[in-house]
Structure formats: structure tokens, C-alpha cells
């Protein structure tokens, strides 16, 4: 039933132009980077020939960062699920002043620049060497940064599906609070949890602002490696590395999109 304004030729042309320009702005560099990752010499262009050597080199030099990033992302996901889902339920249950305050505090890390957050973490915990040197240090930062996204995503579905009434229904049938949480709340918040999970993994894999300060030579994540390679490696290697990053993150993003569309009730 939507139609809005029927297409008007000039408006349409202008909007289309802007859209295509925006798309080009976003996609052309990405495409160039992918191409560069395969060319023998970017300086001479694709005519210099195509090669998989750069990719090989990246895997050789940086496979550790890739593995670490995946591990940290999964760890972050686990922690945010454990901390976030029950808390989201508790916060969404009865909107009170306290819950608003908690929400505000928990979402604050989004507002505060990662650099500052990392600085604060280092100043507070940099002295605990084992913690400082383990990937848990980075994981802590990532949890701090991604938790609001998990919370928001879950709270949004909880509000949308009126879990409150579902819980009352279950209660009337004799279910205890814990049973209600596992039988009714979690299954019906699935959509939000999944969306939140995808978001958390995506953000964690790409996180740089915090990680740059938090990492040690032993705990280098993919984006830190990327920054290294941008600064000190050949453009081709940096490009190949970026390509590897794309390969990891793009499926997540696509899933996020497909999923977002499916849960938001569908775009007609």
C-alpha cells in the first residue's frame, strides 16, 4: 500500500545519482583494495599480473592475529551473552529509575572514545602483569564496548514481543521465575539475541580504538595487525590483509542484514 510520491523524473534522477555516488564512494576503494591484494605490483597496476603470493604472505605473517581475533570475538560473545541476556530481561521487566540509570551507565562506553576507555583500563589494571599480558585484557575491553549492543538488541525484542504478558501467562500456568526465563523469555528473545550476537562478533573482530592501546606484542588482533601492515608493509600486503579481513567480516555483515530484515518485520 505504500507509494508515497510517484516517481518524478528530475527528483528521481537526482536521488539515483546521489545514491550511486554514495555507493561508489563506499565500494570503489574496497574493490581497489581487493584487486590490489591480488596484483603483483600495485604501482604498475593489474597489468603486472595477478598472484596469490600476498595472501600467502599475510597468512604466514599474521595468521596468529586472525586466530586471536576469532578467539576474542567468541569469548566476547560468550561473556556478553552471559552478562547481557539475563540483565536485559531484568532491565526491561520493570522500567524504573534504577534500571534507567544502569542502562545509562552500561551504554556509556559507547559514548566514551575507545582511546580514553583503554587508557583508563591500562591505568587501572596495567599493573597486573598476567592479566595485562593475556588476551583476557583485550576481551575485557571488548565486552565493555559491545555489551550495550547486546543489551539494546535484546531489550528491543523484549519490548516488541511483550514478553511481560507471556511471562504472566506462563506464571498463571504454574511456571517459576527461572522456568519462565528459560522457557519463555529466552526462546522469544531469540531474534534479538542472535542479532546482538552477530553485532558483538562483528564489532569485536573489527575493534581497533581500544585494542590498539590494550594489546601487547603477544596479543595482537587482526585490526592491530592491519594497522601495522598499513604503516610498514607493502601496499599489496596491506591490501591482501584487508582482503582477509573482508572475507571474515562480510559474511557476518550479510547475516546481520538478512537477519535484521527478517526480524524487523520485513521490508515490503
Amino acid at each position: 500500500m505504500r507509494s508515497g510520491l510517484p516517481p518524478h523524473r528530475l527528483t528521481f534522477a537526482f536521488q539515483l545519482l546521489v545514491t550511486l555516488l554514495a555507493c561508489a564512494f563506499l565500494m570503489v576503494p574496497a574493490g581497489a583494495s581487493i584487486l590490489a591484494g591480488f596484483t603483483v605490483s600495485y604501482f604498475r597496476g593489474p597489468s603486472s599480473g595477478l598472484t596469490l603470493n600476498w595472501i600467502g604472505e599475510v597468512l604466514n605473517l599474521y595468521s596468529g592475529t586472525i586466530a586471536l581475533s576469532i578467539a576474542i570475538a567468541l569469548g566476547t560473545l560468550g561473556v556478553t551473552l552471559l552478562l547481557g541476556v539475563p540483565a536485559a530481561w531484568a532491565l526491561a521487566r520493570r522500567p524504573s529509575r534504577l534500571s534507567r540509570l544502569v542502562e545509562e551507565v552500561v551504554t556509556l562506553p559507547v559514548a566514551i572514545p575507545g582511546l580514553a576507555l583503554a587508557l583508563a583500563l591500562i591505568l587501572a589494571y596495567g599493573g597486573f602483569r598476567d592479566f595485562r599480558m593475556s588476551p583476557l585484557f583485550i576481551l575485557t575491553g571488548h565486552v565493555l564496548y559491545t555489551l550495550p549492543f547486546m543489551l539494546r538488541a535484546v531489550m528491543a525484542v523484549l519490548a516488541a514481543v511483550d514478553v511481560r504478558t507471556l511471562e504472566e501467562g506462563a506464571a498463571s500456568l504454574g511456571a517459576s521465575p527461572l522456568q519462565r526465563f528459560f522457557h519463555v523469555v529466552v526462546p522469544n528473545a531469540r531474534g534479538g539475541i542472535l542479532a546482538g550476537a552477530l553485532m558483538v562478533v562483528t564489532l569485536s573482530i573489527g575493534e581497533f580504538n581500544l585494542t590498539w592501546m590494550l594489546h601487547t606484542p603477544l596479543t595482537k588482533t587482526l585490526p592491530v595487525g592491519l594497522a601495522d601492515s598499513y604503516a610498514s608493509m607493502r601496499l599489496e600486503i596491506a591490501s591482501a590483509y584487508t582482503l582477509v579481513f573482508f572475507v571474515m567480516i562480510v559474511p557476518l555483515l550479510v547475516a546481520l542484514q538478512v537477519f535484521g530484515r527478517a526480524t524487523s518485520g520485513g521490508t515490503k
Partner: protein, 346 residues
């Protein structure tokens, strides 16, 4: 499956003030008899849902209030311990479970094994004549089907009472009328204690063994449908359960005299009197035949009949009914004959 006749419920001195200071209920007393269908009727915001939720155990009454089931104080018991069935306006069916799993859920949390509980749930679904929907997902059901599943789910645990909060409001008019009949028949057959919340007077009149008319968090009248319709306790109840016409005048010598004419009545003389009657108590006729004469203001064709709005001098406004084939033109004069058995003088 037939549920045993339910518990008698006593609400004693229960008021409810919400955290934000809203006084939803002033302390009130109410008895629901075992096995009866009690309808809570009243305008939006009068506290019907709040009262129902107090009975259910979803809210706690203000200090001093007590709820008793069969004489046992359950005020401190949370809802999951009260064994009541609830049907919500939105049905609150679990979207993550199939129809039969929804219905079996109450048995599941009671520790009944999978086979056994599915069998019992299937029995209830059969009773509601929706056995064929067992394996459907909730979002594959129509509104009416959901309504039936919600009822089946509430009944499957053999509750001591069933509490329904506007269970038909979400449906369209035709379906509402149909299901109203079905629910009536079911509650009568099971003879289960039922408390039924609605703001629709037609539903209340059709379903209730007794009706509690509520207003501003208090009880305005309790009585059978005929009592509240024919002997309303006050103007509010009279207007809420149906249209009421009012004529002001005086009684003298067995005749009620008003600006529009004269009506024969029984009773002593009174200098100031008000005559009350419902639309169906009046019959339209040509002016010469009647003691009361009005001007036709507006005619609304309703198919089965016509609703006629009449105007008298001094802003009097009367709603009457006429057969569909009667010719009535706005502006014309028309007579009104009242059924003496169905008028009230106050």
C-alpha cells in the same frame, strides 16, 4: 475432560494504589460463587483488570486486603501457586511452541511426562474442537483460533478458577458474537468458577450469571443481567448497560405530565418526577394516537429496524426504535406509546 466445579473466591477489603500513586481500586469486597460466571463490566480505566489481577495474584492488594479461595487465604501466594487459569486480551500464547505444546505447558512445569501431557492437551483441544490445529505454530492461527487455544491452555491444568480479561476484544464483531456463544456454553458445561472482564455491555448481559458494574475503582452494582438491565442502581448503571431515555415532569392523578404530552402511570402524585424508559419500551405511531408527541430529528436505518432520534421542546432527546418499513422523515411529528410494564418513575 471435565474440570471439577471451581473454588469460591472471596475478595475482602482489597484496594490497589500503584507505585506512581494511581488509585486503581478503593478497598472493596466481592464474593464469586463456586461455579458461577461473574462478569466485571465497566468503562475503560475503572479498575476491572486490576481487580482481576489481584484475584490472579499478579498484583498484591494494598495493606489490609485479602483474597481467599474456598476460605483459604492466598493473598501471599504468587500466581504460579494459585492454580488459576488466565486468558489474556492478547492471548499471550507462546510463539516459540506449537499449539499442543502451549496447551501442555502447564502440565510440563508440573512435571507431567511428555507423552502423558500431550495426550491430555490433545483431549482439551478436542473438547474445544481444534484438535486438528495441534501441530500448528501460533502465527499460523487466525484470531478466533488463538482465542480457543488460549482458553484450552488455561483449562488444561484444571484450574480452580478461570480468569478472562477481555478475551474477545481483539476479534471483529461477527466472530466476537459467535465465540461469545461458545464460551458461554463451555463455562456452563464445565461449571467452573469464572471471572470475565469486559467493557462491552452486550457481552456482559449475554454471558454473566452475575454482573459487577464498576466505576472509578469501586463497585456500582452487583446483580444478574436482568437486575442490572431492568433495575439499575443508578443513572450510571442505567446508561452503561443500555440506552436510557429520560423525561422530566410531574405526576398528578395517575398521569405523568411532561412538555411532550401525557403518560398514564400508577402511583401517588409527585410535583417533580422523572420518567425512565429504554428504546425498546416505546413504540412509534401517528401523532393523534399517542399521548406523547415529538419531532423526528434523525433516522438511522439498521436493517432489522430503524433507530430514531426524537427531539422535544427544551432540548429533550429521545432514542426510539421503529420497524424497518415505517416511513419516517426528519422534521415530521410522531407519537410515542410507552409499555407501562417497562417504565420507571424516579
Amino acid at each position: 475432560m471435565t474440570a471439577a466445579s471451581g473454588a469460591a473466591i472471596t475478595v475482602s477489603g482489597c484496594g490497589k494504589t500503584f507505585a506512581d500513586g494511581t488509585r486503581a481500586l478503593t478497598p472493596l469486597d466481592l464474593k464469586v460463587r463456586a461455579g458461577e460466571t461473574l462478569v466485571l463490566l465497566g468503562p475503560s480505566g475503572c479498575g476491572k483488570t486490576t481487580l482481576l489481577r489481584l484475584i490472579a495474584g499478579l498484583e498484591t492488594p494494598d495493606a489490609g486486603g485479602r483474597i481467599l479461595f474456598d476460605g483459604v487465604d492466598v493473598t501471599a501466594l504468587p500466581i504460579e501457586k494459585r492454580n488459576v487459569g488466565m486468558v489474556f486480551q492478547s492471548y499471550a500464547l507462546f510463539p516459540n511452541m506449537s499449539v499442543v505444546d502451549n496447551v501442555a505447558y502447564g502440565l510440563r512445569v508440573r512435571g507431567v511426562g511428555p507423552a502423558e501431557r500431550r495426550a491430555q492437551a490433545a483431549g482439551v483441544l478436542e473438547m474445544m474442537r481444534i484438535g486438528q490445529l495441534s501441530e500448528r505454530r501460533i502465527d499460523q492461527l487466525s484470531g478466533g483460533q488463538r482465542q480457543r487455544v488460549a482458553l484450552a491452555r488455561a483449562l488444561a491444568v484444571r484450574p480452580r478458577a478461570i480468569l478472562l480479561d477481555e478475551p474477545l476484544t481483539a476479534l471483529d464483531a461477527a466472530l466476537r458474537e459467535h465465540l461469545r456463544g461458545e464460551i458461554d456454553a463451555l463455562l456452563r458445561r464445565l461449571a467452573i468458577t469464572a471471572v470475565y472482564v469486559t467493557h462491552d455491555q452486550a457481552e456482559a448481559l449475554a454471558l454473566g450469571d452475575r454482573i459487577v458494574v464498576m466505576r472509578n475503582g469501586a463497585i456500582a452494582q452487583v446483580g444478574t443481567p436482568r437486575e442490572v438491565y431492568f433495575q439499575p442502581a443508578d443513572d450510571f448503571v442505567a446508561d452503561f448497560v443500555g440506552i436510557t431515555n429520560r423525561l422530566d415532569g410531574a405526576v398528578k392523578g395517575g398521569r405523568f405530565a411532561t412538555e411532550a404530552g401525557i403518560v398514564p402511570v400508577a402511583g401517588p402524585d409527585r410535583p417533580v418526577a422523572r420518567l425512565l424508559f429504554r428504546p425498546e419500551a416505546a413504540r412509534l405511531c401517528p401523532p393523534p394516537e399517542a399521548g406523547l408527541v415529538f419531532e423526528v430529528r434523525q433516522v438511522e436505518f439498521q436493517g432489522a429496524r430503524q433507530r430514531v432520534i426524537l427531539a422535544g421542546t427544551g432540548g429533550v432527546r429521545i432514542v426510539a426504535e421503529a420497524p424497518a418499513d415505517m416511513l419516517l422523515a426528519p422534521g415530521a411529528a410522531v407519537g410515542l406509546i410507552l409499555d407501562p410494564a417497562r417504565i420507571a418513575l424516579v
